[in-house]
């Protein structure tokens, strides 16, 4: 536990001493304010927007979640750039411990911000239980983005480019709601598809456990692959 506290304090020191990461840290708060105050205002002016509130919430939730994924990825990229990962490799902790810590860091803070967004936005309330399920699913988007950027980006500039690409990819499953019949399942290999499905079902009053289960399975399969890639490419294991 002491080691986890150490790593967490260290990570936050990094975030607070980096302007760009500070902005990313503030982003969930800004997004929540946007959804809480601006969307209702603009919906009064243009009532047609009300039909799209759920998509705005899907968008807002995922954008909130990926910020911690991006922050964590950037901390790892910096550790790669400065060769600090080498020094970490010779500490009495296993590489797995370090990887799991980093992924948990991203997941916990991202789930928390997604949950707060769902609670405080007051826009499309899925209920408390479903908010918990949604927060977990949204939270898992963070390690997803962390692993991709930290594994494949060579430096911070590449990291930013990856971030933009992944951001587009994870928003794509929202299009599934505009496709007829079973075509929507084209997006099912993207784990966020199940998150959006969960949200939609929660609002329609349908069951949410199936979408939660499928989303978790897809995430776990992708994580298993990405973690092995991370260990191979970053830690030479």
């Amino acid at each position: 536990m002491k080691k986890i506290v150490l790593l967490t304090v260290n990570d936050f020191k990094h975030v607070f001493r980096d302007r760009m990461l500070c902005v990313f840290l503030l982003a969930p708060l800004l997004l929540t304010c946007f959804v809480r105050f601006f969307v209702p205002y603009i919906s009064e002016v243009y009532p047609i927007i009300i039909d799209y509130h759920i998509y705005i919430m899907m968008f807002g939730g995922i954008q909130t979640s990926i910020m911690f994924g991006f922050i964590t990825a950037f901390i790892i990229l910096e550790e790669k750039d400065e060769n600090v990962l080498q020094a970490i490799r010779v500490l009495p902790i296993t590489p797995e411990y370090f990887i799991v810590y980093r992924l948990l860091f991203a997941t916990v803070f991202s789930s928390l911000s997604a949950f707060l967004m769902l609670v405080f936005s007051g826009l499309v309330w899925p209920g408390l239980w479903n908010s918990f399920l949604l927060a977990i699913q949204y939270g898992l988007a963070a390690p997803f983005i962390t692993l991709i950027i930290a594994t494949y980006a060579k430096n911070k500039v590449e990291g930013l480019a990856f971030f933009k690409g992944i951001d587009l990819l994870i928003l794509m499953p929202i299009l599934s709601f505009f496709l007829p019949g079973l075509w929507k399942y084209l997006f099912s290999p993207i784990p966020m598809f199940w998150t959006y499905e969960l949200y939609s079902n929660a609002i329609k009053g349908s069951g949410t456990i199936f979408a939660f289960f499928c989303g978790t399975v897809v995430y776990l399969l992708i994580f298993a692959f990405l973690i092995s890639q991370f260990k191979k490419r970053v830690f030479n294991l």
Binding site: E82, N83, A87, V90, P92, I93, N236
Partner: protein
Amino acid sequence: MIKVKDLIYTYPGTNKPAINKISFTIEKGEVFGFLGPSGAGKSTVQKILFKLLSGYSGLAEIDGKAVKDQDKTFYEKIGVGFELPNHYLKLTALENLNFFRNFYSSSQDPLLMLKTVGLEKDANKKVSDFSKGMKMRLNFIRSFIHNPDILFLDEPTSGLDPVNSRIIKDIILDLKQQGKTIFITTHQMHDADELCDTVAFLVDGNIMAMDKPQNLKLQYSKRTVEVMVENELTKHEFFLNDLGNNQEFITLVRNKTINTIHSKEASLDDIFIQVTGKTLA
């Protein structure tokens, strides 16, 4: 304490082995130096020994246990000083040391350690504002903040001015006095000569010679003495054997004013070139 036998390592994607069947042993309390030019394989051997590289063949053993079988507690008893600085640049020197030392079961006072290398005034300065020499000194003290029994130091004096280089060498000698086993890689022959009990010349992944520096010097030195006298440009050279009975030498030193007199002891640099046919650039 450290035993390496028939060690072979080839980097993925290459055909030529970076380490080609080398063997050596480092006893407890010994300072062992790997000398060789860049790319000779010095750091590769160290990385195998502290488990940053796997996929080798042969034996690599520390304290009677194969390196690949060592668990995470292994890093409690070894310390690693990398060739290039690797710190959190946004943290201060003290924050860096505190971060790393807290992973160990015991550690030394970081402020005292900073003082030993003249960085106490910079303890609260961000490492990004440090010069390369300062970062290297920080690297060095971090490697033994947990008081390990075995130290791996990769080019410990690289990038340091003579004063700081002297400080680092004195600390290494002090650690030796404390009974630590130290494995150094360097291409600074003078440092190796001063610090190491045993040196090995490594070229293209092969050990070309290995012995105590003194033995190597005796083996490869010209056993002669060179004398220069006043108002003469030519040097006089005499064999050391039976020098006391060499009439020509005796006459010279009695009758002429001696400007310089040197035994022609080979330096490690000379021996390296002689043995390997390469320089240490």
